[in-house]
Symmetry: C2
Subunit: 239 residues, 2 copies
DNA sequence: TAGATATAGATGTCTAGACAAATATGTAAT
DNA sequence: ATTACATATTTGTCTAGACATCTATATCTA
């Protein structure tokens, strides 16, 4: 390798590695050569290679796991945020196998904030659903849903069977619903969520708060979903 | 400084600097001590300090300028993307002095794409307005607007006086208009735009394409706006 | 006074080496 | 076959030093 003057060597190495990845010499999910191997190959110090890899990792092209190696990052799943986005459709459309696993379900009392979102009295009974969305066995999102208990009693059992909120709601006569609003924030995940998403604890998650309403505009679900920022990016579809 | 075991020293330095910035010991825009000074103060190697600063810069807390020093990054201006966002209101609401400078205005023929956006015949006359939005003498955005010439003849002169598209449109009987849609992409700026925005050429800009419509839904403006990603972040206000 | 030039000061890059921490793997014991 | 342990591999952190590059400032020159 001959280095061009006027540009840092680590940048040239970064570009070379990027080329190799783009050309499929290193494929998504595959392991790159070790830092020492690359250093020897490029005839530079290991730290110089590390600079290049740090830049690629910053750009989400690669992913580094201590003790294991550096891997080519799989493409992010685009998650459009429309009024009718459905998890299973998005994932299936990308030719991945969707799955949704219920972690916990219980009945709780509505807090003030959630009661307001769902337009129900404070303290009224709510169904609490906690689940993990998975595509090809890779966890993509952690969701918490609140639904009014008086309207959707027993939905947790149906959810376990259908593994889909959209499907479950059909049992209650709701064949269509839309998303009223979505708030998006970036957060450091709790230890629990990081664990469930199998994501690094120091990397942020994308957290959305959403309210789904039925055809007459009555709220049916308040949801908090945490997306792995390693694997998902959100698309806003116009406003 | 006593270092905690189990956490990298550079991370502890990062947190300490962040605390200092949060407490106003280092204020936005101010220069931090030099790397060597910080290294001496924390009793570590200069490279260790650099790691901390790199992390802060990555998080947009600081900004490094070679040969000058490290500075506390000024807060980004939140730019909400709603159907009725108006530049001057946003900026004034943040207690900054807004200004809009017209760079160029001419009459051009509608290209196919723009004609479609504005719902006018291909080749019909359009007014082309190019301007820079400034707050407190800091350039925030570069805008190109296309308006149908038959409806808004001479708007460029009015724009120069009022320095506001919203105001200018009032002369044409348009007292209200809304944004129909916004597409957002991230791009590397052209040399010209980078220069106008006084932004680094290798840093991306946020580019929006928007269509404004009047109360009856007729398109009145197609606009392409490039925001400096150093100074602006876009907020999506729900969908 | 204006402009060119030298100098000092600041960050950027590269090398070299030593350990630490996490992971993977092979081996021995059960 | 499984577990436990030791060992090797791989990335992470820290130190040390040398230059390069860019910027600001002082100084000299016309």
């Amino acid at each position: 390798m001959k280095w061009q003057k006027g540009e840092a060597i680590w940048k040239q190495i970064e570009r070379q590695l990027l080329r190799d990845i783009a050309q499929g010499i290193f494929k998504p999910g595959e392991k790159l050569p070790t830092e020492n191997e690359l250093a020897k190959r490029f005839e530079v110090n290991r730290h110089t290679v590390r600079s290049a890899i740090a830049a690629l990792t910053e750009a989400n092209v690669t992913r580094v796991e201590q003790g294991r190696g550096t891997f080519v990052q799989e493409a992010l799943l685009d998650y459009p945020l429309g009024s009718r986005t459905r998890f299973s459709q998005i994932v299936t459309g990308r030719h991945r196998l969707p799955d949704k696993q219920l972690i916990k379900s219980e009945v709780i009392d509505a807090s003030k904030a959630i009661a307001k979102h769902l337009d129900v009295p404070i303290g009224s009974a709510l169904i609490y659903l906690e689940s993990i969305s998975v595509a090809d066995d890779i966890p993509l999102a952690h969701s918490i849903s609140y639904l009014p208990q008086n309207r959707f009693k027993g939905i947790d059992q149906i959810f376990i069977e259908t593994k889909s909120l959209t499907e479950s709601l059909k049992s209650y006569g709701i064949y269509d619903y839309t998303r009223k609003q979505t708030r998006i924030i970036a957060q450091i995940p709790s230890a629990k969520v990081a664990n469930l998403l199998k994501q690094a604890k120091n990397k942020p998650i994308l957290q959305t708060e959403s309210i789904d309403v039925d055809v007459v505009g009555k709220p049916i679900e308040f949801g908090i979903t945490s997306f792995s920022s390693d694997r998902v990016q959100l698309l806003v579809q116009g406003n």
